[in-house]
């Protein structure tokens, strides 16, 4: 099917949520990487999923609005995903790169509404590393509608992601989840935060398609 797009409000910003496949039951929600946007059609690797397949364009990406003067943080963009949860109820998340990081955070913050999260390779997985990089402060011209928003690329590629911070979210998920293995790492590229997550005793590793099948 051609993707169908609806717009959700996050404050005054419009978020584009695409339906890539119709179906009954809990949706699979795809979160793209930094600087990417949602796929135009259902990726083959989601074929084991019988329910709806949704894909969200993060703020400043794809068909979603661009905020004035940046201010991006992964924690702030959790509210993008939360807008989907408010509208569609519980989901299973597959996140690529930066989307994997936000997917982990929101799964930890909304444990009752995220039934499993798959962390996969994609752009923006590393962020700023475990320690903040040397500050790079620059004022960019007001972009208005340029996408991906240059401020998103600047700010979300420099946010620090300490492993112990990631493990806090792992604990939130594991303490609350009714699923046996709610966190699956399918990514082959492992920045420090993701290596720490993958090595946690409550986290399993599976190839992407099997990971999705495990939540189907």
């Amino acid at each position: 099917m051609m993707r169908r797009t609806e717009f959700l409000l996050n404050g005054s910003l419009r978020l584009a949520l695409h339906t890539l496949a119709e179906g009954e039951g809990r949706p699979l929600l795809l979160l793209h990487g930094l600087g990417e946007q949602s796929p135009m059609s259902r990726p083959e690797w989601t074929s084991a999923w019988n329910g709806p397949v949704l894909a969200l364009d993060f703020t400043g990406h794809g068909e979603s609005d661009v905020p004035v003067s940046g201010g991006y943080t992964p924690e702030g963009l959790m509210s993008d995903v939360d807008a989907v949860l408010a509208e569609h109820g519980p989901v299973t998340i597959v996140g690529r790169g930066f989307g994997a990081w936000v997917g982990l955070l929101v799964a930890g913050a909304r444990t009752s509404h995220v039934h499993g999260v798959v962390l996969f390779d994609g752009s923006g997985a590393v962020g700023g590393g475990s320690q903040p990089p040397t500050p790079y402060v620059n004022v960019l011209p007001a972009s208005g509608t340029t996408k991906p928003d240059p401020y998103a690329l600047l700010e979300l590629s420099r946010d620090p992601r300490p492993p112990d911070y990631a493990l806090d979210y792992v604990r939130f998920i594991l303490e609350d989840s009714e699923i046996e293995n709610p966190i699956v790492v399918s990514a082959r590229i492992r920045p420090e935060w993701l290596a720490a997550v993958a090595s946690d005793i409550g986290v399993i590793e599976l190839p992407l398609e099997q990971a999705i099948e495990s939540f189907a």
Partner: protein, 308 residues
Amino acid sequence: MPSTDQTREFPGAKAPERTGSIDSSGLRLALNEWGEPGAPVIAMVHGGFDFSRTFDVFAPMIAEAGWRVVAWDARGHGDSDHAHLYGWAADVRDHLAAIQSISSEPIVLLGHSKGGGQLLDLLDGRPSLARAFVNLDGLPSQFSSPDVNDRERRRMRRADLASGLDRRRRRAELTRRPDTIEGLAERRQPMNPRLTREWLEYLVTVGARHDDEGWRWKIDPVLHLGGFGPWRPGWSLDHLAALEMPFLGVLSGVQDDPMGWKSRRGDIEPFLPPGGQLEFYDDIGHFLHIEQTRFIADLVLKFLEPHR
């Protein structure tokens, strides 16, 4: 019984002599100035949940000594625009936009609390912006964190996350609760227990807006204290050690003040830049420049004397 008078005065408080605005990538930040336009510039950066008019007594004292004082409201605070998104890095960038709009030459920078912490970050990345730096109780220390075990820390972070997301879900319907001048002052008192009611009532008249229902703080209702993500105080100390300009740090030692990082002299001293000056007062609270305005202004002016 609440007064019907909708104005308040405070001894020494002086409205800005000039007002204006700065553009930070399309976001308008409100700017206030005291002192002669041609005088050497000192830029003041306020702390979290404050606004530039909290310098209404302190700034005139510095201006009277021959300085041009410039201060701006952070995004979402005071008279500046409310933003779609907020973050530490965005605040730091807004400070850069403001400073670049004021002068192309290095100036003196002063930051209080969160504003001081953000200037530490800015000056590590852009050291040529400042020819001297004053930090008023904005030196975060990892060593003075409250004694909280890991489980409790996680519980607090989790509660903060949930409430933050809930607040963003309700963003469109969030408004600041209207009240009388006295009512708003009373509600702010727990944040500023050491400041007088007279000051807090004055603050309402410059930091809140009056409409048909009463006074409401101008600050964006989606903002809340905390919410720094993975940020940790020790990261700022690295920036402190890297400074190369003359530096004055002033610490409050009042441990039961609800605001501030509670850093102690021994936490900070090992990270002082060469020649840096650190003062510690265990009888002045976090809002040093408001609680002991004359004393702190004299301290700052003495430090600045060679840097006019």
